[in-house]
């Protein structure tokens, strides 16, 4: 996990970073601190400004406003070839006319390392990415996954203070992607450098990163450890983009001690005060589908604190380890409920009348001014 930020540390700090194309702000006054040595994921839907942000850090794009500071030094206006930062491009951008060996040696050679010294380092790097035997080939003779690893070795050999990875696994098929995720994580731990990994795949971000920053429309929505973000989203966008959420409209009736009470259509629920992004007026009451439990309607046993009564199961789909239910509330709103498949438990069927129940500590409250469907339209990516 991230170490606390201290003055004069090695961190990468983006302050008020903005990039405008005409009137359109691709990156909008972005503030971000990337702790040194961390595996940092920048997660967001396509077009939210991730590449533009990376390019400004790499020096390939000049910011309209704001600064980029690395290890205490302002590098905002530094030419790309003078920055201690390297990029693994989404397209890999391997030099087609050079062998794998020469591609990897490109950085050290430009920095004036002798051919012989570079050769030793190149071999070490190619071994690290397990491509030693391909050193003499041209990029076109390698598969996508191998090219991806060459791109990684070509960047890593320079020991950059920050390694930028722009959707490095985007072009790979699912199986290879999973495998490369583990490999990238292993390499990052091995070399101990700061990795900024850009992706639109929330699962990828959560499995790989120490810290995830969720980006939307040129801004950071929320940042934190993956489990923190998942457990306690602070905006509807994060609630929907990172996993799935049920959001039900309600209004706060009061705060008693550590508990906020919210009046909903089907009853009253409570949530811990520290899990409320807003604790007055209209709110979205949020709960993750797997935190909700279904019980037969009217059954007083098995309640977990928060309850919504008189719902009807409208769809059941069996997904192996769990069963996914769609449940319709009296208000007509449909919620998702994922139940683990324990043998002891009775399977429910469409049309069954049920009550929903979940614990107050799994509840979160969000500002009702936000769009409840923000972040849902990217589900299929």
């Amino acid at each position: 996990m991230a170490e606390p930020v201290t003055a004069g540390s090695e961190d990468l700090v983006l302050a008020g970073l903005t990039k405008k194309y005409g009137d359109f702000a691709a990156v909008d006054a972005l503030d971000l601190t990337v702790p040194s040595g961390s595996f940092f994921a920048l997660l967001g839907p396509s077009g939210c400004g991730k590449t533009t942000t990376l390019r400004m850090v790499a020096g390939l794009e000049v910011p309209t406003a704001g600064t980029v500071t690395l290890a205490g030094e302002d590098i905002t206006r530094l030419k790309p070839y003078r920055r201690p930062v390297n990029t693994v491009f989404q397209s890999y951008a391997l030099f087609p006319h050079l062998t794998i060996r020469d591609n990897v040696a490109f950085g050290p050679r430009r920095k004036g390392v002798s051919k012989r010294e570079a050769a030793a380092e190149v071999n070490r790097m190619l071994d690290l990415v397990e491509l030693g035997e391909y050193a003499g080939r041209k990029p076109a003779q390698l598969s996508g996954g191998q090219q991806q690893r060459v791109a990684l070795a070509r960047a890593l050999i320079n020991h950059p203070q920050v390694l930028l990875l722009d959707e490095p696994l985007g072009a790979l098929d699912l199986k290879l992607r999973r495998q490369m995720q583990l490999e990238l994580k292993r390499i990052q731990i091995d070399v101990g450098l700061t990795f900024i990994h850009v992706t639109h795949d929330q699962e990828e971000a959560m499995t790989m990163a120490d810290t995830v920053a969720v980006m939307n429309q040129g801004r950071i929505e929320q940042m934190g450890a993956p489990e923190e973000l998942y457990d306690l989203p602070r905006t509807t966008f994060v609630a929907n983009f990172l996993g799935r959420s049920n959001l039900v409209a309600g209004s706060v009736t009061g705060t008693a001690g550590e508990e906020v009470s919210v009046q909903l259509d089907g009853g009253t629920v409570t949530a811990p005060v520290e899990r409320a992004a807003t604790a007055e007026g209209k709110v979205w009451v949020g709960v993750r589908p797997e935190k909700v439990h279904l019980k037969p309607a009217g059954d007083p046993a098995g309640g977990r604190g928060n309850e919504l009564r008189d719902a009807v199961v409208s769809d059941v789909s069996f997904a192996g380890v769990s069963t996914e239910y769609v449940v319709r509330l009296p208000s007509g709103q449909e919620l998702m409920v994922f139940e683990q498949n324990h043998t002891s438990q009775r399977r429910l069927h469409s049309g069954d009348r049920v009550d929903l129940t979940w614990a107050p500590e799994h509840t979160f409250l969000l500002d009702a001014a936000q769009d409840a469907s923000a972040g849902t339209q990217f589900d299929d990516e």
Partner: protein
């Protein structure tokens, strides 16, 4: 540069199209092959045959096929100077095309933005007028009383009797002018194909823009440079129009000599000289392409 001449690729997957060359392939090849057979192979064979005729024959009384190989040493010895001069002029013109054409093609490919099309049309525009007419215009332009010469004479370090027309400079200038588009167009096509992200990657890997050019752009544009030099050098070495209109008896190129010999009716010598020139050019080009196929050229 390995992509100029494909060298053997270790472990390359076998070309999949091998078994697919069926009837359609032959049908598609037929018109072109017929054309080449009628208008290239037949004339070439006839040219080679003519170069071996008895030189004592004449157009009126006919030639005898005597396998007179001595036509070759005779023609080469007699016309050694024009042969060497042609190769020199063609080489200088090609280098001049490279010096003028590379920045031009580079600017059109990378810097022209929305003016790209206009600039390309401008490069091709001279083709709308005939080669002959344009060279005649140069004859006029380089004349003793025209502003180019007047201006050059006015400069402090040039003599008052400076002349352009009828000098090697005029011939080489004409060749350069006439063949420049043939250098620029293939080079432009080659530069245009270069993925701009490669240059960003070079910058990201500590190459200054100039080093990036040397290490990435230049090597990747070599196919265009090779194509351009061939399309310039080969026709320039055999050209006779530029010398005819801009040169003098002292600057005669081999093309002019061949033309004169044909006019004079000395078919065997003319043919021998043609074949000798052809073989020389083919050999030079073969060596050049072979050298360009290795990494030493860049």
């Amino acid at each position: 540069m390995a992509h100029v001449v494909p060298t053997e690729i270790p472990d390359a997957p076998p070309a999949p199209e091998q078994q697919r060359r069926g009837l359609a392939g032959y049908l598609l090849l037929t018109p072109g092959s017929l054309w080449l057979a009628v208008f290239f192979i037949v004339p070439t064979v006839s040219l080679v045959a003519t170069s071996l005729y008895d030189p004592s024959g004449s157009l009126e009384f006919g030639y005898q096929m005597t396998g007179h190989v001595q036509n070759y040493p005779h023609a080469i010895a007699e016309y050694w100077d024009p042969i060497v001069r042609s190769l020199q002029y063609a080489l200088i013109a090609t280098v001049a095309c490279m010096i003028l054409g590379y920045p031009l093609a580079y600017a059109i490919a990378f810097k022209a933005g929305r003016y790209k099309t206009i600039l390309l049309v401008a490069v091709i525009a001279p083709f709308f007028t005939s080669f002959l007419v344009r060279t005649l215009a140069w004859q006029y332009l380089l004349g003793d009383n025209e502003w180019v010469v007047t201006f050059l004479r006015w400069l402090p370090f040039t003599g008052a009797e400076l002349q352009l027309i009828n000098t090697p400079v005029a011939v080489v200038a004409g060749l350069t002018y006439n063949f420049l588009p043939f250098f620029v167009l293939p080079l432009y096509a080659s530069l245009e194909k270069i993925d701009h992200r490669l240059l960003e990657a070079a910058g990201d890997l500590y190459a200054s823009p100039f080093r990036g050019f040397l290490k990435v752009t230049l090597p990747l544009s070599m196919p265009g440079v090779v194509a351009g030099t061939l399309l310039t050098f080969i026709p320039a070495a055999g050209d006779y129009i530029n010398d005819e209109l801009l040169g003098s008896p002292k600057t005669r190129m081999v093309g002019n000599e061949i033309q004169s010999l044909f006019y004079a009716g000395d078919y065997p010598t003319a043919s021998a000289l043609s074949v000798a020139l052809m073989v020389t050019i083919v050999l030079l080009v073969a060596v050049y392409v072979w050298r360009a196929g290795t990494d030493e050229l860049v």
